[in-house]
Amino acid sequence: MSALGVHHLGKSFGGLRVTADVTLEVEPGERRLIIGPNGAGKTTLFNLITGELEPDRGTVTLFDRDITRMASRRRVHLGIARTYQIITLFGGETLLRNITLSLLGRRRLRWNPLARLDRQAALIARAREALGWVGLEHLAERPLAQTSYGERRRVEIAMALAQEPRVLLLDEPFAGLSVEERRDVLRLIAGIPRDVTIVMIEHDMDVALDLAERITVLHFGQVVVEGTRAEVVAHPRTREIYLGE
C-alpha cells in the first residue's frame, strides 16, 4: 500500500492548466523530492493533496483511503501535515503558544471553553518538547514577531511535526536560509523517524538531493521524469529543463 497517492489529478484556473494528469505514489517511510522550475505547479499539487484546493479531475489517497472529497481539516486528523512556503504563523503569540495551537488541533480539548489553557501542563510540556526537536526550546516564551526568519522556518517545521503526521509535506523548507541554517534544517529533517513519510518541494538542489530517495520532476503541471535520485539526476530531460532555463 502507498502512503500517499494521487491519480490523474487535474486542476485548471480559467484557461490555465496548472496540474495536468499527475499520478504518483509515495511509499511509507519514503523521502520523495518534487522539483521543477517556477510555475511547474508544485505548490498547487500540495494544495490539492491537503485539500485547500479542489481538483477538477482525479483522486488523492492516503494509505489507500480516498480522501479526494474530504475537507482539509479532516485530512489533518488522518495524519497529513504541511509547512508553507510563505510563513503564516501566529505573529502576535509566543513560540510556545504557536506550537500549542498546533498540538491542540488534533485534540478534542480544542473545543473546551472552560479549562484554562495555561494550566494544561501535559500539553505545554509536549509543546516545549516539540520546540526542542528543532532546537528552539530556549526561545519558548519569545513572541514570534521577535524571532529571525531562520528561527521561524524551524517553528514551521515544529508546528508540522507537532501534528504527529504520518505524511509530512514540506514546501521549500530551505527557502531564504543561510548556509548554516540550511545545515541545521537538513539535519533536522534527516533525523525525522521513518514512520513519517516525507514529501518535499525544493528549489535548492544541492541541499535537497541529499535527502531525496526518489525524485519527481514537474514541468508545466505534468510529471516529466520520475525515478531514484541517480536516475533522475542523470536523465537528459532533467538537464534540459534545468540547464536549458
Binding site: 491537503t50 485547500e52 482539509s72 481539516r73 505573529g91 502576535g92 480544542r110 473546551n112 514577531a145
Partner: protein, 327 residues
C-alpha cells in the same frame, strides 16, 4: 496585588448606589453595566473572532421584544427569561448561518441586512410588535424574593449579571476554545490546516455573543419598561460597535470602558451639549484614526511612552513588547 485591586474595584462597584448622588446617576450606572454586557458579547465576535457585526442590535432587540410579549402574556420572569433567550439563540443561529457566507466586509454587510430585517419586522409587523408605538411592560422581576423595582436594587441585580458575564467571557477567552477562536481570527487558513473546524468555531462564537446580547436586551427591557423599533435600528448596532471599538477590542475590559464612555456621553454630556450624536461620531472618527487599537490599549501605550520619555538619559529604554494587545 492584583487580587487586592480586584477586590477594591468590586467593593467600589457594589457601593455605587451609596456614594453616587441621585437616582439619576444610579440609573446611568445601571445603563453602563447593561450596555457593558452587550458590548462584551459583541466583542466576543468583533475582538476575539475578528468578525465585525453591525446587526447585533437585532439580537438585543429580539430578546427585548420576546421578553415584552412574554411578560405581557402573564408568564413568570423565569419563563420570560428562558423564552426570550431561546428565541434569540435561534435567531442568532440563523444570523450566523447567513452571515458566515461572507467574510470580512461581506460579513459586515450581511449583518446590516439582517439587522434591518429585524427592524423592518419591529416597525411594520404591528400585530406582533405594535410598530412604532412599541411595547411596554410593568414591573421588574424579584429573584429570590428581592424586588428589583428600585433603582438601587436594579443596579445591584445588573451588577451581578455583569460580573457573571465578565467572568464567563474571561474563562472562555483563557480556554482552549478561546485560543482556537483567536487563531481563526489571525490565520483562518492555517487553522483549517491544523485541523480546526473554522466555521463551527465562528458559529459557536456567534451564539455566545448572541446569548450575552440577549441577556443585555432583557436587562434593557426591565430597565426601560419599554421597547421600540429604535432599539433595533442600525444606529443602535453602530453604537454598540462604537463601544467595543472605542474601548479596544483586544482586551477584556476594553468594551466595558467603551460602554461607559458612550453611555456617559449619551446621558450626562447631552445635558450640556445638545448634539451628542455629532460628538459621538467625532469621537469615533478620532479613535479610529488616531487610536485604532482603542482607548484602553492606546492609553496604556501612551502611558508607557510617557514613562519612557520621563526616564533620565542613558537609562535602558523600555523594551519593546511584542505581542501586547493581541493585535
Amino acid at each position: 496585588m492584583r487580587r487586592v485591586a480586584l477586590g477594591a474595584a468590586l467593593v467600589a462597584l457594589a457601593a455605587v448606589p451609596l456614594w453616587v448622588g441621585s437616582t439619576y446617576y444610579i440609573n446611568v450606572a445601571s445603563q453602563i453595566l447593561l450596555y457593558a454586557v452587550f458590548a462584551l458579547g459583541v466583542n466576543v465576535l468583533v475582538g476575539y473572532a475578528g468578525l465585525v457585526s453591525l446587526g447585533h442590535a437585532g439580537l438585543f432587540g429580539v430578546a427585548a421584544y420576546a421578553g415584552a410579549r412574554l411578560v405581557n402574556a402573564g408568564h413568570n420572569h423565569m419563563a420570560v427569561a428562558a423564552g426570550a433567550l431561546a428565541v434569540t439563540l435561534a435567531t442568532a443561529a440563523v444570523f450566523a448561518t447567513l452571515a458566515l457566507r461572507g467574510t470580512g466586509l461581506g460579513f459586515v454587510m450581511i449583518t446590516v441586512a439582517l439587522g434591518q430585517i429585524v427592524w423592518g419586522v419591529a416597525y411594520r409587523w404591528i400585530s406582533i410588535t405594535n410598530g412604532d408605538n412599541g411595547l411596554s411592560i410593568k414591573g421588574r422581576p424579584s429573584p429570590f424574593d428581592l424586588s428589583l423595582a428600585s433603582p438601587a436594587a436594579f443596579y445591584w441585580g445588573t451588577l451581578v449579571v455583569f460580573l457573571v458575564a465578565l467572568a464567563t467571557i474571561a474563562v472562555v477567552v483563557a480556554s482552549p476554545f478561546g485560543a482556537s477562536l483567536r487563531g481563526t481570527r489571525d490565520q483562518p487558513r492555517r487553522m483549517s490546516a491544523l485541523g480546526y473546524h473554522v466555521w463551527m468555531i465562528r458559529f459557536l462564537a456567534f451564539l455566545l455573543s448572541g446569548f450575552w446580547s440577549a441577556v443585555a436586551g432583557l436587562l434593557f427591557l426591565y430597565y426601560n419598561q419599554f421597547v421600540s423599533p429604535q432599539v433595533v435600528a442600525l444606529t443602535s448596532s453602530a453604537e454598540v460597535l462604537l463601544m467595543v471599538i472605542a474601548g479596544g477590542t483586544g482586551t477584556l475590559l476594553g468594551p466595558v470602558v467603551g460602554a461607559a464612555l458612550v453611555v456617559i456621553v449619551k446621558n450626562v454630556v447631552s445635558g450640556y451639549i445638545e448634539r451628542w450624536n455629532f460628538v459621538l461620531g467625532a469621537i469615533f472618527v478620532l479613535i479610529v484614526v488616531f487610536m485604532p487599537e482603542g482607548l484602553v490599549p492606546g492609553t496604556v501605550r501612551l502611558w508607557r511612552w510617557a514613562r519612557a520619555a520621563g526616564r533620565p538619559r542613558g537609562a535602558a529604554a523600555v523594551p519593546a513588547r511584542g505581542g501586547e494587545g493581541g493585535r
